[in-house]
Symmetry: C2
Subunit: 420 residues, 2 copies
């Protein structure tokens, strides 16, 4: 797919031209913008290009992880189901448009009635699509009395338990709705989130929001493993887009899981993890590596030289002690220690100014997509929260769980299966 | 200059290889890393490449503005002049190294004694230089009784006045020291700031810190004009690296300005400007354009079609009213309205989570480099703070002024002229 600038799309849309015939271009609100793609979200695109919005699954889950993220959790302020559905429809159309680098609405920034507020805020006008993806999730609180959804709440959307070492700030937890915007240009991600919030003015308000500057996971074999703010490669053994069988086992909700409206969807666990980087930075290299279970430089398991060598948890040194420490993070988080549990991780590093105590407020915004958080994330976090020495260096300060519905067809909308 | 990966430099440094003969490579702490360059900081480099650290002026001022920024203001906690000078020397060496994509210290992340904490935190190990620049500034509070600098304080470093519409948060103001890190990869900028803070542990603490995700100014004719979060192109008439005469008039401190230790330096004004984007977004296009004085799409002055057409403040419509509104931002901020005053702007867009009231906390981190803030920034801000209708949509929540010393020679250090 060639790179389409927002300016070019704006020009074409303003002139009322049909954007047909461009091959990878399908229909949005009567215009031809982007075709449904059976491999939607799983195909690597160049950093500036467009990721298909429509498909069996939402984009932004197995899409090769983009470099930057803006995440927002929203409270719904209206009690009207119709108004909520109308907003979800409008969001879907706008998101499909912004995913190809277009404005939220045709001619939105400058092509409307001069006496009216523009319907796009304009700061992404000259920027390419930048691999923008927008992904929606529904929080448990959406399934209360307001919208007639109480009997449609998935059992798997039960609240996460409080973990032993949690220090959660209520202002960074929960939310009726969540929107994850990922892009290779942060201005494109922020623009998208802002315009969706704006479209919902009066109906939704911002509960919390998080900017992430560096991805901490690869979700495709085409990507190298990035580093978290402890300086270690993170997510070497992450699930990858190129292994649909594993994704089916661990990420996508299947018919037997129910409810039916969630089939093809997934659950999103969001955890804001403050890292006490100053304390970590006073720890010796050997302690850091022992605690993680990997070498800091190469990312290889202790005792190995290649990052991707399979971890052998049973290996012992000549004196009989385990090569991978008994409390090493990769041992505790290993599928072998957790009945085969695996997650699709998609987190981001953050720095939110200072903590008021002379330090940077920095950490990891942990995001994981799973078929059932209570069978996958919860046992892992229970193990980590009680046994992991790394907990001395981190603090979970925010937490949320969202049900991400399946992907959208060209005539559907986000949550169409839920509100059907 | 070819792109040098941190990994490659690490490998070479670890092997004790001399990095000589690479042409643009000069000396840092006994190693050949980067040559002094008479055009230091004024030459466009590819997004991943290295910007020369040494030169007559500090890098990061007229360097073509990078895409991302991490800014930190620090309090000095030691009363020892010697300790402060030692830290400035260490910072200078580390900054020169990180500017070429190397670790803060040779082999810092993984090449040291395993029983000691690594001397580089490692999260930028695999990343290219990404045009990183590090720029230091000294706040007025540094010139108190502690370091014997009271009689060296420049008159131009007098505190900024409180402007009529200011709503400053003391926790976002001032600082003994400031470090501006700009790079095209935010992880590289954050890594650099974090490692400099870490080297100063015990001697300095973080007062405030700001991440910026999108540049709002061009500082080179090679760059297109970016947009701020009001959706408008910002800084069309900014001073540019390619016009040294104007930079001499408006940016660099000259011998006649004094003090002598500041010659070749400049003053940095930092203002955190919260934008009430929700209110702005409810304003009509014609109001927005009238208020700015430019078209939103093209950036052209009202009545013109090209962004770079010179603004004619005297132009009138056929009915005799001014083409550029009498209260338009570009009129009030114009050199013609301010006795020829100009600034070198170098600001960034920011989004800092939510404001707790249902909105994004977003805005512009305004940075400007000037020869004398009291003769340039102050009269402009006085005019804007009292007459500019845009003040209804913004709020200045942080403020600081720093004296940025001149550039560093290969055997010098940041502030060498001050502490001589």
């Amino acid at each position: 797919m060639t790179q389409i600038s927002r300016r070019r799309l704006l020009g074409l849309a303003g002139a009322g031209a049909a954007l047909a015939g461009a091959g990878a271009v399908g229909g949005v609100a009567g215009q031809r913008l982007l075709a449904p793609d059976p491999f939607a979200g799983t195909v690597a695109v160049a950093p500036g290009q467009a990721v298909p919005f429509y498909g069996a699954h939402q984009a932004g889950i197995v899409t090769p992880a983009q470099d930057r993220m803006h995440f927002v959790a929203l409270d719904v302020r209206t009690d009207s189901r119709d108004e909520l559905v109308e907003l979800l429809r409008a969001w879907t159309h706008a998101s499909a448009r912004m995913s190809v680098g277009a404005e939220a609405t045709p001619g939105g920034a400058t092509g409307g009635v001069p006496e009216a507020p523009p319907s796009d805020t304009g700061e992404a006008l000259d920027l390419p699509p930048s691999a923008l993806t927008l992904t929606i999730g529904f929080g448990a609180s959406l399934f209360d009395h307001r919208f007639g959804l109480a009997d449609r709440r998935p059992a798997a959307l039960a609240d996460l338990p409080l973990f032993p070492a949690d220090d959660l700030d209520p202002a960074r937890c929960g939310g009726d709705l969540a929107i994850q915007a990922c892009a290779n240009d942060p201005q494109v991600a922020v623009h998208a989130v802002r315009n969706l919030i704006r479209m919902g003015a009066g109906a939704v308000s911002v509960r919390w929001s998080q900017l992430g500057f560096g991805r901490t996971s690869s979700t495709s074999v085409t990507q190298s493993t990035p580093r978290n703010l402890f300086g270690f490669k993170d997510g070497t053994n992450n699930l990858k887009a190129e292994d649909p069988a594993l994704l089916g086992d661990h990420v996508w909700v299947a018919a037997e899981d129910g409810p039916s409206w969630m089939v093809g969807g997934t659950y999103l666990v969001a955890r804001r993890i403050r890292m006490h980087i100053e304390v970590w930075d006073r720890t010796s290299l050997v302690e850091q590596e022992t605690l993680i279970g990997r070498r800091k430089g190469s990312g290889a398991p202790i005792g190995e030289v290649d990052e991707f060598t399979e971890v052998d948890l049973a290996a012992r040194t000549t004196d009989g002690s385990p090569v991978i420490d008994s409390a090493a993070h990769i041992r505790l988080a290993s599928p072998d220690s957790l009945d085969g549990v695996r997650l699709l991780r998609r987190g981001y590093n953050f720095t939110d100014g200072s903590d008021g105590l002379g330090h940077l407020e920095a950490g990891l915004f942990f995001l994981a997509f799973v078929r059932d958080a209570h069978r996958q994330f919860v046992p892992m976090q229970q193990a980590l929260s009680t046994k992991d020495v790394m907990m001395e260096y981190i603090e979970h300060t925010g937490s949320a769980l969202f049900a991400c519905p399946p992907g959208v067809t060209e005539d559907g909308f986000w949550g169409g299966t839920l509100f059907a």
